[in-house]
Amino acid sequence: MSSTFQSDAFMQRLAKRHAAEKRFRLLGLGAIVLSLGFLALLLFIMLKNGLAGIDWQFLSGSDSTEASVAGVWGAAKGSLLTMIVTLAISFPLGVCAAIYLEEFAPRTRWIEWVEVSINNLAAVPSIIFGLLGLAVFINTFQMPRSAPLVGGLTLALMTMPVIVISGRNAIKAVPPSIRDAALAVGASEVQTVFHHVLPLALPGILTGTIIGMARALGETAPLLMIGMRAFVASPPDGFTDPSTVLPMQIFLWSDEIDRAFVVNTSAAIIVLLVFLMAMNGLAIYLRNKFEVRW
């Protein structure tokens, strides 16, 4: 027997297989390094081009045809107003829907339709939501174009399924013993959910909400459809003023022929990425801090 395992042919085959193993492993490592390298290149180029452009003038100014005085505050305020509308609509609706579907919904055909439709909405391309916003809010309801109100409504419809899905998962993670205990001492079903299940699920729901909001903050295509590409020389004052948002400002500046706007565009990208990273960081912090393993 031992001669078979020590024959030259066997040793050669074994060495080949081990080499193949090593190659495969390096291939995997290479894939990760390449992906992360691309991310690093992207960040490096934006920092290299944009870091010089970030100063007080840039952070406090609004759009201008002159690259050196154009700033990002007008767009940032537009983003803020839009996000307020999105949050105010999608969060309560999303949480209510998640509670209903997870805790109270009877298993009927109707409810199945609701579930299918939420799962699909979460995967519908964002530009389709823009077409919906254009056809419904602007053409049918005659709401003002380019307004944070309409942008926020459109993004809210897009964000709501994300909140519902993460909310359901968070509610599902609360163990049944909590519900049983509350019901056993005489709480009604609604009391059980609102006094006991919801507070325990809230960190999970908030994490999902922040991630959904971060996605909405970076979204451009649906807002392009509803005309949020106004040239805004002064920050918008209300929810119905024409305005633009941070990603849209990046898009508009990227179209400028003047090479000086490369600095502005990259700087605006840095500002946007800082906001997004702060939001995602907050979500991770919340998850780590309040996550309970039952």
């Binding site: 495969f24 990760i32 919904a105 919906l132 079903e189 971060a214």
Partner: protein, 457 residues
């Protein structure tokens, strides 16, 4: 801000109602078991009766009043001079509305300036009617609930029934959104197909809506080059990048990397998915596309274009990597450990186990993940808008500029044409095609994933 004022007033009334009803209910308390619900629930009951009718009245009134205002303005003598065409009429009224809300603006059309005054007075008049309506509803609801405050009134179960209805209404919004998407796309597409035949739209190979006038309109709305561009960029080039990189990353992370590496690498990969697409688009246009153009020039291309299918597809592929990798990660993790342990015990190396045992077992999940990734890639807009180009052409040359469905939707809707032109409406027809294709991909993928999970549970 009318909405803010109304909401504040309703909230204030509700708060007052809640407080007084609670106080009244407390007076009814005579001892243990004397009441069917606590005082707080009586307060909530009244507050709900104030807020819900008032908000419903406000919603109805907001939907109806613009029409009433317009009618009142049209009844004004100055409105006799309005043109008969609905389109022009609507635009002048819109201008008048703008002047009415902000007197400092000057309307382009003199008639709009004259209509601004009646417009403003009609708005004020109907505004007061609306506020009165909301107040009446709030008070009527509150009054009704006030008479119900009695010791034997089951306020809690009534409140809970109300809450249940609110929860149900919230979950129906999802269906409403889906219906809204389908209805608006189908409606506008039907308008489009009055002018252009569906057959020539779906099978024609020439796309130039700019020349679309008169009898040969059918020949200029052939969307096949758009479909091809979308598939070529989103389903071919992007996937050639994303599938190997995403899959290999997932394999490395699940099979080889130790916990410490995994803990740092996975979130870092997910950052790739969190970068907004407009940033990728700019990166593609600023860095990748010029590099590819120089590369093409060095290959001897004559006048290579800055915009190329390759630039857009490459960056899109990178964007999709974390998506493929996390789907593959889940499917590989779902393969029972006993299977790979068995293979390893037989003396197979790790890579042989992965290639011959784990991957085949995880394949359905991975395929479903790739389908979801394709559906995301073909719906992606900003990268192609900024890097792919506007020329519709049927070619397999990755260095040529190419256009996609999403690019054309943006192109058709961001110009300044009137809304009913076939050009604008074509965007909705393209949107409908995109919606249907992504829907089918998603449904199949979700089915496969579900069946795959059940197989190993």
């Amino acid at each position: 801000m009318l909405i803010a004022v109304v909401l504040a007033v309703v909230a204030g009334l509700g708060l007052i109602g809640w407080y007084t009803a609670r106080a009244k209910a407390r007076l009814l308390y005579t001892g243990r078991g004397s009441m069917r619900a606590t005082a707080n629930y009586h307060g909530l009951h009244l507050a709900l009766w104030i807020a819900i009718p008032a908000l419903i009245a406000f919603a109805v009134w907001t939907a109806v009043s613009p029409g009433l205002v317009n009618e009142a303005v049209l009844a004004d003598p100055a409105a006799q001079m309005l043109p008969a065409s609905d389109m022009e009429r609507a635009s002048i009224l819109a201008e008048a509305r703008a002047v009415a809300s902000d007197p400092s603006t000057v309307a382009f059309n003199p008639l709009a300036n004259r209509l601004a005054e009646p417009m403003r007075s009609a708005q004020t008049q109907f505004g007061f009617i609306g506020i009165a309506l909301v107040l009446i509803c709030a008070l009527a609801g509150g009054g009704y609930a006030w008479t119900r405050i009695r010791a034997d009134f089951p306020a809690r179960s009534r409140v809970e029934r109300g809450i249940m209805l609110l929860l149900l209404a919230a979950s129906l919004i999802a269906i409403l959104t889906t219906v809204g998407i389908v209805a608006s796309l189908v409606f506008e597409t039907a308008l489009f197909f009055r002018d252009v035949s569906p057959w020539s739209f779906l099978t024609g190979t020439h796309w130039s809506p700019g020349n679309a006038i008169g009898a040969d309109i059918d020949d200029n709305f052939g969307a096949v080059p758009l479909f091809w561009g979308t598939i070529y960029i989103g389903a071919i080039i992007a996937m050639i990048i994303a599938i190997p990189l995403g899959l290999m990353s997932a394999i490395y992370l699940t099979q080889y990397a130790d916990a410490k590496v995994r803990r740092w690498t996975k979130p870092a990969l997910e950052i790739l998915a969190g970068v907004p697409t407009v940033v990728y688009g700019y990166f593609a246009a600023l860095t990748i596309a010029p590099a590819i153009r120089d590369f093409a020039a060095s290959l001897g291309y004559q006048n290579p274009s800055t915009e190329s299918a390759l630039a857009a597809g490459l960056v899109m592929g990178v964007m999709i990597i974390p998506f493929v990798s996390s789907m593959a990660d889940d499917s590989i993790a779902a393969v029972p450990r006993a299977m790979s342990d068995g293979s390893l015990a037989m003396g197979a190396t790790r890579s042989e186990t992965i290639k011959k045992v784990v991957l085949p077992a995880a394949l359905p999940g991975i395929v479903a993940g790739v389908m979801l990734a394709v559906s995301r890639a073909i719906g992606e807009t900003m990268i192609v808008v900024m890097a792919a180009g506007a020329t519709a052409r049927l070619t397999a040359d990755p260095l040529a500029s190419m256009t996609t469905v999403t690019y054309q939707i943006v192109q058709m809707l961001t110009g300044d044409q009137e809304f009913d032109s076939p050009k604008t409406l074509s965007a909705f027809a393209l949107g409908l095609v995109l919606f249907i294709v992504t829907l089918i991909l998603n449904i199949i993928a979700l089915r496969v994933v579900k069946r795959f999970r059940e197989a190993y549970e």
